[in-house]
């Protein structure tokens, strides 16, 4: 799935890197606990979260993720968006809640974690 499809499916706003929407992604995860993301995620390209602080972007950076989606109409600060931009991480924001956002992407073929 391309990031542009995620944007369409979630009716999301692109907060940075509009020119990266053609990037292909194959899996995603959703969590508000960054430690869980760090523990269970392997090669997920997209993080959906309702948590808003700089550690969200840093976690995505550590995991080599390419897109962060903020759910429940949460808005990251301009500083967070800037760090994401510098690290080639597309930032999207959607009004959908976590369950619906994840379900929509999953139903459209974006898979979850690969179990080890």
């Amino acid at each position: 799935m391309k990031i542009s499809e995620i944007k369409e499916l979630l009716d999301a706003e692109v907060l940075c890197l509009e020119d990266h929407l053609d990037t292909e992604v194959h899996s995603a995860c959703g969590s508000d606990m960054m430690s869980d993301v760090l523990a269970y995620v392997k090669d997920q390209a997209v993080l959906l979260t309702g948590l808003v602080n700089s550690q969200v972007i840093r976690t995505a950076q550590m995991m080599d993720m390419v897109c962060v989606v903020f759910v429940r109409s949460k808005r990251p600060t301009p500083e967070m968006v800037e760090i994401a931009r510098e690290n080639s991480i597309v930032v999207l924001a959607t009004g959908k809640r976590m369950y619906e956002a994840c379900g929509t992407l999953y139903a459209n073929g974006l898979s979850g974690a690969l179990h080890e």
């Binding site: 508000d32 606990m33 960054m34 430690s35 869980d36 760090l38 523990a39 979260t49 948590l51 602080n53 700089s54 550690q55 969200v56 840093r58 976690t59 950076q61 550590m62 995991m63 080599d64």
Partner: protein, 140 residues
């Protein structure tokens, strides 16, 4: 000439926003050295969790990353409260972090387990009231 490269950092204990900056820098440095993405990810996640721990629990400390020919060693040293029960602290889900830390997305009791998970060897030297020194090794 020294037999290894050293990257040294001071981790600011009062600033949650900047926590993780040393790990970001290490990730960049290791990338420049041309190490494999798998190794880089292991080192940066293990160190990142360690850095967050130092900020949450120990008012900061120092971090050293030593790059040898066959391994990378991460040494995290703090003068925090120490770990009372190491075995318990290593259990997934066990945490002494406050609700305020949890609301920041950490304190799920995954810090030390994650550090162990991503390193090939982890040694914890800790004394209650004195501090904690954690040495993690990732083989190349």
């Amino acid at each position: 000439m020294s037999d290894h490269l050293n990257f040294h950092f001071t981790v600011d204990g009062d600033n949650f926003v900047s926590a993780g900056q040393a790990s970001v820098q290490v990730k960049k440095n290791l990338r420049e050295l041309g190490l494999s993405p798998d190794v880089i990810r292991k080192v940066s996640i293990a160190m990142y969790e360690g850095e967050i721990n130092m900020v949450i629990h120990a008012h900061g400390g120092t971090a050293d990353v030593n790059v040898y020919e066959d391994r990378i060693e991460i040494i995290l040293d703090d003068e925090g409260p120490g770990i009372k029960d190491v075995e318990l602290a290593l259990q997934e889900g066990y945490s002494t972090a406050s609700d305020s830390v949890r609301s920041l997305g950490f304190g799920a009791g995954m810090g030390l387990p994650n550090m162990k998970r991503y390193s090939d060897d982890m040694r914890i030297d800790t004394t209650v009231g004195v501090g904690t020194k954690i040495t993690m090794t990732i083989r190349l």
